[in-house]
């Protein structure tokens, strides 16, 4: 249908009764519905990307759990009963939801911590180390070499909380901020007798993942080698794992089956994930409903336009214009409007994704600048359904 004059005449006959205000209202309904649908898919996908994606969003997405073998009355006192073998570690690495497994190595040598002044105390201090990629935030000072008398340590955030909210108030001691704790020096006596060495330890960071005191692996290895007690097993009794979704029942079943214990409070991200999924699903359903209403309004507008042009349509059919020809004419008028609406909605979604990506960057998270495949799939499917409904309704109305 390339004859411009013919198109202009048909336009005069069939579309002159179109109400501009109704067209805008129908377009607004369709645009709002489509945009909300695409945005809800985009939000859902962005959260999935943050929670489960391959980007470096570990703090947000993965849960770190410390796993140990349960101490029972049966294995209590048995040598190596709670030790993880290489086979155990490999098996855990292949369990559902597990992304990475790290060995927690503890000291097999005596460590004695002392501090003078108003906060004076002296205590045996267990130390542990984990692979660097399991540390929450890697401090710049996190390195140690033999011969270095300054030792960086990371302590559990829980220690500071217990001190500030339990111990200090009860003993009349001052509460301490993270910064003030980092400024304190702790004397560590490592080893026994004449071979003992003294180090000046500084807290360089706090960990939400580990419930103990961490030292660099090089220091633990040095100490175990130099001061370690002969015959003490070197195999780990605790592992740290990075899990995608520890709330997965398959993962839970695995732990129960192997009689492993873990710190269940670390499942908090799973709860957040569940909330996000509920919210995005609800938004998606609402958006789907709105898009349905928008599509219905737009189709009713098309049918109303055709109904108002009924007399002209009948005459056109009587002088030889076929139903297919007239359907094609109407479809060619309305389809670009539908596609324009969808493109506009997609442009808003792309802008939304870019804004979310920039906002995520500000939070130290990584989110792609362009929407992912689910958004494009939603675009293709919704466009396909829209095109199908519009063409069907036009053909049906003209046929009638």
């Amino acid at each position: 249908m390339s004859d411009k004059i013919q198109i202009s005449l048909l336009r005069t006959l069939l579309l002159r009764t179109q109400h501009k205000s109704r067209l805008w209202a129908a377009l607004a309904a369709l645009t709002i519905g489509t945009t909300l649908l695409l945005l809800s898919v985009m939000i859902w996908w962005s959260f999935s990307e943050l929670l489960y994606g391959k980007k470096q969003n570990d703090a947000m997405g993965s849960t770190y759990l410390v796993v140990g073998k349960r101490v029972t009355e049966q294995n209590m006192g048995q040598k190596n009963a709670t030790i993880f073998t290489a086979q155990d570690i490999d098996s855990l690495g292949h369990a559902a939801q597990v992304q990475d497994v790290g060995v927690i190595t503890s000291n097999h040598f005596p460590v004695y911590a002392m501090m003078g002044g108003r906060l004076a105390f002296a205590t045996d201090l267990p130390l542990e180390c984990v692979p660097d990629n399991f540390i929450d935030k890697m401090p710049a000072e996190w390195k140690w070499e033999p011969g270095n008398l300054n030792l960086p340590i990371i302590v559990s955030s829980q220690f500071l909380d217990i001190y500030n909210y339990v111990f200090a108030p009860s003993q009349g001691l001052p509460q301490l901020s993270e910064g003030s704790v980092k400024s304190l020096a702790l004397n560590l006596k490592v080893g026994e007798g004449d071979r003992a060495e003294t180090f000046s330890a500084h807290v360089v960071g706090f960990s939400d993942r580990i419930g103990s005191v961490l030292a660099p692996k090089s220091f633990i290895d040095y100490g175990n080698q130099k001061f370690g007690k002969a015959g003490v097993a070197e195999a780990p009794s605790q592992l740290i794992i990075k899990a995608k979704d520890p709330s997965d029942t398959k993962f839970g079943d695995y732990l129960v089956r192997h009689d492993y214990t873990t710190n269940s409070q670390n499942l908090r991200w799973s709860k957040i994930r569940a909330i996000v999924e509920v919210v995005t699903t609800a938004t998606g359903i609402l958006a789907l409903l709105l898009m349905g209403i928008g599509t219905l309004v737009f189709i009713l507008f098309i049918e109303l336009t055709i109904a108002r042009a009924q007399h002209a349509l009948t005459l056109l059919l009587q002088i030889g214009y076929g139903p297919h020809y007239l359907s094609r004419f109407m479809i060619q008028r309305f389809l670009p409007i539908v596609l324009g609406t969808v493109i506009f909605s997609m442009a808003i979604t792309i802008a939304g994704q870019a804004a979310a990506s920039i906002a995520a960057q500000g939070q130290g998270l990584v989110l792609p600048m362009f929407p992912g495949w689910p958004v494009w799939a939603a675009l293709v499917i919704s466009t396909g359904i829209l095109v199908l409904l519009v063409t069907k309704s036009i053909s049906g109305a003209i046929k009638k």
Partner: protein, 214 residues
Amino acid sequence: MQLSLQGIIPVPLAEKVNAYQSGMWKNNRTFNKGEYVFIQAPSGTGKTTLIHILYGLRKDYTGDAKWNNISLANTDNETLAGLRTNSVSVIFQDLRLFPELTAWENVDLKRRLTNTVSEQQANEWLTRLGLNEKKNSMGATLSYGEQQRVAIVRALVQPFEWLLMDEPFSHLDHANTQKAINLIGEVVKQHGAGMILADLDENNFFAYTQTVIL
């Protein structure tokens, strides 16, 4: 293209058809391309009904009407559109012009369906029927006689094997009727087409006809 009628009785006119013994109804007849047929009958006996049946606008009849092998009672709109575009043209009694289009646009809209008649030729035909100065007038503002002449030209600007006419000169004076008859005669002859004219009385067209149905 052959037209065959097999005992047609329009359902709403069944009683009237039985009372009025017309050659139009109930008979089996065949008309061949190039044949000129004049149906002369008084008002209310179903001339327009027959034209509408032959053009595929009505299906409320018993019997059968066929263009070649196409039975009109069972034909879909797409097939009918093909017939109306390339084989069968019509001048309606009530003209059926678009009031919101000009005289020329009414003709041109039909002409552009097939583009078998040039713009110049269509213009010339309008001029021959005395519509040169009315070409750009809206259909709604034309007199019935002017509209009738526009409808005649519109029926001619397409290829056809049969031309159906339902009282096409009812509002034309003698001179304009003669002009219209001459134009229709020329174009029909060019196409080698057949004609079916339904009218109340004999007119000059009667001289052309080979078959008269009373």
